[in-house]
Amino acid sequence: MSRELSDSLSNLAPEQRKELEEKLKKMSPEQLQELQKQQCIFCQILAGKVPSKKIYEDEVCTVIIDINPASKGHLLIMPKEHYAIMPQIPEEVVGHLFLVCKHLSKALLKALKAEGTNIFIANGPAAGQRAQHTIIHLIPRKEGDLVLDLQEKLFDEEMLEKVKGAVESKLKEVLGVGKAVEEAIEEQESKKKEVKRAEREEDHTEEKEIIPLHRKRGPGEEEFFITSLTAKRYHQERCAFAQNIPADKRIVFAKEEASKSGLKPCTCVTGKKIHLKTTESKIRKERKKTKTKTKKQPLERHKKQSEKKHQKQHQKQNENHTKKHTKKQREEQLQKKEGFVSLDDIADLFK
């Protein structure tokens, strides 16, 4: 819409331009479409407000003769609805338009005895589109007239590969075929799996919250207690005695009313000991087994001074003890003491 309106706007004075721009911003898209139809010449032709020479009319499209033709018999085929460029047109309409072109080119070849026909579509002003309405040009041709000459050249293979690499993926996405579609399907499946995983994790976390294990809770943490009609004590929820009470006979009361009830608290409430059901007790026992029974060595600072002295003496004795053991060392020591003489030396004197 912008091009036509901007062209018409440029002709007006700046003050009027501002007023119009403000109006345009306030209007809804439906009103903008109506404006487009009023501005578009071809929509007015199709509505019958501007005189024209129609050849064929249909529910979907009409065919008229061009006022500035390239040759005798130049026809314009256009859909009745207003579309700016071809990619906006729905598939069925496109197919219908081309079928109409086919029949009309047959008619041209018969009636005007043309040697060939050209079908020409321009999308965008860079391609030569002059009007804001999509038009298909059907031009009868003869040899030698200078209408549409496509001069062809040879190109390298590199060009072909570049074009293929650039266009192939986008084409398959647009057509709904190939890797792009497969990737999209994989993404959907992975998303579904993630959603399922999240649901499972939620379930797990809920289960964990329901069964708090081994951690002892003091009397101040519980909110409510459970008893039955014939009981003498009141219990926590996770106590095995409370879980054995059937649901019909359970009585639940808050922490504040505990003293008024006249019942004694169970050991689970006081915090000394908890009687858990079999599953929880089994888990505790397994944990005890897996723990290695190593004696914890007391820290050095906790030892008494006498013990530290003993240790030092022991270390020194051990060092000396190792030397005494060998025979040679014993003899040496004996010789060192007070000039000891061996018996062999004395035996020579007595002979």
Binding site: P69, A107, E168
Partner: protein, 192 residues
């Protein structure tokens, strides 16, 4: 075969194929006007536009439209031209029907503009008369209905179910091709 496009189908040339189907091919050729030109053509050999059956033409045109839409983003084109060269006088070089999609930019060097001629009103009226006679013979609805009937007749011999879209009501109908004999046989079996 001298036909280049049939050689592309048989993979005897250097052309790169972008999309392939049972009926249609999309390829990039060696000998083109600008780099980026893409040709869309049917697999079977038809020389000119008038010989192509309706269904295949519709498919080719839809795919050519989508190629034009894809080229805007992929090659950075500012516009596209879709051209069919039908007949020797129109410049058809390969005797195999094809649609060409040419991406355009502002400073291309290409010029497809023509100089408009000025015709007298007598000639215009003559053209009007002749063409209207021919155009009145066109009845697309009946042609499409006939084709659909033929398809249904073929399928009724096999005895399958077919879903058919009515263009008038725009709903899908399930057409069950039951043979008359089955109904009579069923009635026979009911008789004790």
């Amino acid at each position: 075969m001298k036909c280049e496009h049939c050689d592309i189908v048989d993979r005897n040339t250097k052309a790169q194929i972008l999309y392939e189907d049972e009926e249609v091919l999309v390829a990039v050729k060696d000998v083109v006007t600008t780099p980026g030109q893409i040709t869309v053509f049917p697999r079977e050999h038809f020389t000119i536009l008038e010989m192509v059956p309706n269904k295949i033409l519709q498919k080719c045109s839809i795919i050519a439209n989508k190629v034009g839409a894809a080229v805007f983003e992929a090659l950075g084109a500012q516009g596209t031209n879709i051209i069919i060269q039908n007949g020797l006088g129109a410049g058809q070089k390969v005797p195999h029907f094809s649609i060409e999609v040419i991406p355009r930019r502002e400073s291309d060097g290409l010029n497809f503009q023509w100089q408009p001629k000025h015709l007298a009103e007598d000639e215009i009226d003559l053209v009007l008369k002749l063409l209207k006679e021919e155009a009145d013979k066109i009845n697309l609805k009946e042609e499409l209905k006939k084709e659909r009937k033929e398809v249904l007749e073929q399928i009724s011999k096999n005895g399958k179910e077919v879903t058919v879209k009515d263009p008038e009501t725009k709903t899908e109908m399930k057409v069950e091709q039951k043979n008359k004999e089955d109904y009579l046989l069923k009635s026979l079996r009911r008789i004790p």
